[in-house]
């Protein structure tokens, strides 16, 4: 899978990077800042998958996950192939990110 599918997310104000991974934690494509290694992203992906599985027990069919940190947010959306993860600054264009992430997911699942 090409990281080019993630390109539109780069143009959303406040987005710092994105990656997509399978439910197993395998990174399928990444467009993240260079300081993140594939191993780090896979570790993060595994934790996010685990997080979703945990939440499933309390909230079946949870579709999106948002994590707020001191100066960042991490948006995670479930889709057919796994997870789409977007790292943002504290301030970002939420509406544009929601729209763009749907567009990116359509591209990712397109044959």
């Amino acid at each position: 899978m090409s990281a080019a599918a993630l390109d539109p997310l780069r143009h959303v104000s406040g987005v710092l990077g994105s990656f997509t991974c399978a439910d197993t934690g395998q990174v399928l494509a990444a467009d993240m800042p260079a300081r993140y290694t594939t191993a780090e992203l896979e570790s993060t992906a595994a934790r996010l998958s685990n997080l979703f599985q945990t939440i499933d027990e309390a909230l079946p069919e949870g579709r999106s996950l948002k994590l707020a940190f001191a100066e960042h947010q991490l948006w995670v959306r479930r889709f057919e192939l796994g997870l789409l993860c977007v790292l943002t600054a504290a301030d970002f264009d939420r509406q544009m990110l929601a729209l763009t992430s749907r567009l990116v997911i359509r591209r990712l699942v397109a044959p």
Partner: protein, 278 residues
């Protein structure tokens, strides 16, 4: 005792909703200003008692206020960003606050009663108003149950004790969640949420509104996992997380304790906004 804050308030029993009032806010942080310091008297027709609590906690005011209405009189004591004590008739602590929040109008003014020897609350505005909203909801639910089962109510154990004794078994000073609620009387949705509070060691401290241990376990485990995610990405600890489904959602945020809330997305909107995930 420190000088009383330069705040007076009047609330309108006829025009305003429950708890609405007019209050005069301090022109500067009142904890730093002596009672004789100049200041503006501001009438805020739609202000609520919850607003006064927030203002005083935010400004870390140390002082006491008398809340009077046709339904009774009570006192609120603030110190160091917390509402440390409340008294209303025979009630103290959160029960007293809840009673005052239910009044429909009256006056609020600074006063200088004897400072309480022990605190009965010790919560910041955010957690206080959240708990008060839950307690208010419980009272309304209990009242409706009593109305419909008058003949058997004496034989049925109270499902959720609200006596001060029960409250004393819980920690009092662990409520700094990082969110600020604007008004407890606009929190009907919040009152419907299942809410749990879990200590940092995993011990369940409180469950409200039908919350179950699965919610507590989920909240605790999710907070730990989210912290690992933050560590792994080098972006620090996770303040809050939210998961949304088609109609329901789950919010977990970290104060001194871990708070988990679950309910309809509509009811969660306020919490989501306040933790920056709206």
């Amino acid at each position: 005792m420190a000088a009383s804050p330069d705040v007076t308030a009047v609330f309108d029993a006829d025009a305003a909703p429950a708890g609405a009032m007019e209050l005069a806010a301090p022109a500067e942080p009142a904890a730093l200003a002596p009672a004789s310091a100049p200041g503006f008297a501001v009438r805020l027709p739609r202000a609520q008692l919850g607003d006064l609590i927030q203002i005083n906690c935010l400004n870390r005011i140390r002082g006491a206020f008398r809340v009077s209405s046709s339904q009774g009189e009570g006192h609120l004591f603030f110190e160091g960003g917390l509402l440390v004590h409340a008294a209303c008739g025979e009630q103290t602590g959160l029960d007293a606050v809840v009673s005052m929040l239910g009044w429909r109008g009256g006056t609020i003014e600074p006063c200088e009663p004897a400072w309480p020897a022990q605190s009965s609350i010790g919560m910041g505005a955010d957690a206080l108003l959240l708990h008060a909203a839950q307690r208010l909801d419980e009272r309304m639910r209990d009242a409706s149950q009593r109305d419909s089962t008058t003949k058997v109510v004496r034989r049925v154990p109270h499902p959720e004790p609200s006596e001060p004794e029960a409250e004393l078994t819980l920690p009092r000073r662990s409520e700094q969640s990082g969110i600020a609620l604007r008004s407890p009387l606009g929190l009907d949705g919040l009152a419907r949420l299942e809410v749990t509070r879990v200590a940092s060691d995993g011990k369940i401290e409180r469950m409200k509104a039908g919350a179950s241990t699965d919610l507590a376990d989920t909240a605790f485990y999710c907070q730990r996992l989210a912290a690992l995610v933050g560590d792994g990405l080098g972006i620090g600890p996770c303040r809050a997380l939210a998961c949304e489904g088609a109609t329901e959602g789950l919010v977990v945020f970290q104060g001194r304790s871990i708070i988990g809330a679950r309910g309809q997305l509509e009811d969660l909107k306020f919490v989501l906004a306040k933790v920056g995930l709206g």
